[in-house]
Point group: C2
Chain length 263, copies 2
């Protein structure tokens, strides 16, 4: 049987330890190609580079793995991998991460890690984005390894049902404390933002983003619940932002030209 | 009665003609404050600036309107407006745009214009993002004015039902050719990407993103259908990316720790 072809990317950049961990996991499941940003791109959301050219350089950073650094965003990396580097081949899976911090709840929309995975899913490649709830540089990505192995193998064998994208978040726990994998929904939550105001050396005012996250969702079927209760959360995700039940409820906004309107 | 307080922002930057058009429309409906990026930010998606300080400078660019340029992304602009500049006041509405080109279908996820509006909606401010299907610098934003006036007034009076965000796209038509406003869903569509490969003056290879959009959706209840048939499209939008019906269908991915797993 042919080996599966797996694209690995991230948003923390080609030298991030989380990428190395994910490459080492991915290598067990197939042939791996890495395309990752040459600088950290946290918080880049679904940014793409349209007004500038992109650069791509081959590196020898991962033993036995073809790898490239890219001057663009995480989404650019996926587009270049799919449409330039691997144009003639069929990608079986895209893995993005492992990110530091949470991409659960509303954090998915700010996440470059998840946007890279979403971009691959839009190109019909089953994709998984991973994040570990540990911001420290020496975060231990290995505790969850057997769970991720089993998830990746299952997706390679059976695909993802009814969508093409999984948002996977991992609690900061030892291997034997992790209760398992839970398939769940995105919790409602919000950030309360603050900006630290300061003066730079030239006495100009600056603002620096900080904030605190709040869960607004009492449900026990959410990613936040799963993580708080010792499970790795898996949210099947997509890209339809329509609030479908709001369509009929906002039908009063409709206008037809034969009804008179202002001037 | 108090005048309504309206935040206006965009992703094409403080000097974009589309912003000027939107400010002039917004002024008719309330007190306007503008916070917009100091450089064009097209394709920035939901990017936020976490690793750098942000700058905010007051400008006198719009007659009778308090306005600021910001060094960050469209989402940064909204966060700074809500949490610093207008911290003590209640925002009644956020308007973003008017963007050039289409934010319909899947384009919403790449759009800085829509991300700014989405950010305000996350902060409980009813928000509308606007885009005109005309890329030219001298695009005529005025043809749709009476329709936008009526929409804005309706949202100020009655809010948006069951969500807080509208994705509004405007066809490139003369006023009397516009058939009306249609409330609809986000169409399924995809981009087929290509990269123009070239050599820079130092003979280094570069790649420049280009591509073509395809509609995958035969429905007559979509934003693409509305635009092709002469309507301004309005998609009630949110930020829940969960594919809910896929949760039960992927329950085979669940693991409980008491079941044996690899090593």
């Amino acid at each position: 049987m042919d080996r599966k072809l797996i694209l690995v990317t991230n948003d923390d950049g080609i030298f991030a330890p989380g990428l190395k961990a994910l490459v080492n996991i991915a290598k067990k499941h197939g042939e791996v190609v890495v395309v990752a940003p040459n600088t950290p791109q946290s918080g880049m959301g679904h940014a793409i580079t349209m007004n500038q050219p992109l650069r791509l350089h081959k590196l020898n950073h991962f033993e036995g793995v073809e790898s490239y650094e890219c001057s663009g965003t995480p989404v650019d990396c996926v587009k270049l991998a799919k449409n330039v580097l691997l144009k003639e081949r069929t990608l079986d899976l895209c893995l993005s991460g492992i990110n530091h911090g949470s991409n659960a709840s509303i954090n998915i929309i700010y996440s470059g890690t998840m946007s890279a995975a979403m971009e691959a899913s839009l190109e019909h490649v089953p994709s998984i984005g991973f994040s570990l709830l540990d911001y420290s540089f020496d975060a231990d990505f290995w505790q969850a390894e057997p769970f991720l192995d089993q998830l990746i193998e299952s997706v390679l064998q059976n695909g993802i049902k009814s969508c093409n994208l999984l948002n996977v978040n991992i609690p900061k726990l030892k291997r034997d404390e992790i209760k398992g994998l839970m398939v769940c929904r995105q919790a409602k939550g919000h950030w309360v933002e603050e900006f630290k105001e300061g003066k730079d050396p030239r006495n100009e005012t600056y603002y620096w983003l900080t904030g605190e996250f709040y869960c607004d969702d009492p449900g026990d079927d959410t990613d936040l619940w799963a993580l708080e209760n010792g499970y790795i959360s898996i949210v099947p995700s997509g890209h339809d932002l329509t609030v479908h039940h709001a369509i009929s409820q906002n039908s009063h906004l409709q206008i037809n030209q034969h009804e008179p309107i202002g001037n």
